[in-house]
């Protein structure tokens, strides 16, 4: 298992230290994985086989039923499927099945992430007003790309679980959006 926090180290530190993992627990403050794997929110999981090949692409998964209810997935079913895969008891999907489940980022998301990257650099350079402006542009360009809207919250000094987040998710859910359709559990 490899876990990656798309966070600044200091934002992820307390969580990692409390979990005390024995697997590689990495920090991706530049959101590289979001770009490499076209991830638009967290948590996102990918299954990779022994040859380095994607066998199950971007999916939403939680370790608790409470989290699973948020995304309308069954944690128990997902964990059972995962165990079967690890034990070699799961027939591999076809290449076409895997590809059908892989979606490119929208053009708006790609440009929005360029603004986020610009904002991140400005943030590190201490130019906070200019950084916030770029995060705002990115969030407006791609409101469904939570890597940008929620990812920028700690950088803006905003509580990612505070009133702004609640309002954002309420509006988002009211529009019928999802960030990934959960993959079939079969």
């Amino acid at each position: 298992m490899i876990t990656v926090a798309v966070d600044r180290a200091d934002d992820a530190r307390s969580w990692i230290e409390r979990a005390n993992p024995t697997h590689p627990s990495l920090i991706d403050e530049h959101h590289r994985l979001g770009e490499l794997y076209n991830m638009v929110n967290v948590p996102t999981v990918v299954w990779i086989d022994e040859t380095g090949r994607i066998t199950r692409p971007n999916d939403v998964a939680f370790t608790t039923e409470k989290g699973g209810r948020y995304a309308n997935v069954s944690t128990d079913e997902q964990m059972a499927l995962l165990r079967n895969w690890v034990r070699g008891q799961l027939p591999p999907p076809s290449d076409d099945e895997i590809r059908q489940r892989m979606a490119p980022l929208s053009d708006e998301s790609r440009v929005a992430r360029a603004h986020f990257g610009l904002g991140w650099w400005l943030h590190q350079a201490g130019r906070q007003d200019a950084a916030q402006h770029q995060f705002q542009i990115g969030g407006e360009l791609a409101p469904d790309d939570f890597m940008i809207r929620r990812g920028a919250m700690p950088l803006r000094g905003s509580d990612p679980f505070g009133p702004e987040f609640v309002e954002m998710v309420t509006d988002w859910l009211a529009l019928g959006h999802t960030y990934y359709l959960p993959l079939p559990v079969e």
């Binding site: 926090a5 992820a12 770009e35 996102t44 299954w47 022994e50 995962l82 990257g117």
Partner: protein, 136 residues
């Protein structure tokens, strides 16, 4: 001429640029230094790939390339902050296209909290559950 920080997927290079109402313009040396693409008679080239630039309106002017037009040519997203003197060019579409075609999980190298770097490719030979999360 002004100094511009050009971020190639976050990697900064300082280049000289002309900034006017038509956009940001940088010369061939700046394009090569920042992005690794070289302007040759056959076009814009890197490794074995050359992309023709002749006949593309608005891309070239007096030996300089329009940065936004260049990003579009390379199928990469572009963002610019003129007042801060910095521009960002994101990853190319070909990266995802390659992933979909090959289904190879893109390799990455990232640090842990102790500063030690780990790569996905180190785990070849084992199944990997890659779980991406955040404090937000």
């Amino acid at each position: 001429m002004a100094s511009l920080v050009l971020l190639d997927v976050g990697q900064p290079t300082q280049v000289e640029a002309t900034i006017d109402e038509s956009g940001v313009w940088i010369d061939a040396a700046g394009v090569k230094a920042a992005l690794g693409w070289e302007l040759k008679p056959e076009g814009l080239c890197r490794d074995a790939t050359c992309i023709p630039v002749a006949g593309r309106p608005g891309l070239m002017n007096d030996g300089q390339m329009n940065l936004e037009g260049l990003a579009e040519l390379l199928r990469r997203p572009f963002a610019h902050s003129p007042e801060e003197g910095v521009a960002y060019i994101g990853p190319a579409m070909e990266l995802f296209d390659h992933t979909v075609k090959t289904l190879e999980a893109p390799d990455f190298t990232l640090p842990d909290l102790g500063g030690r770097f780990h790569s996905l490719s180190e785990h070849r030979g084992s199944k990997v559950l890659l779980a991406v999360w955040a404090s937000w």
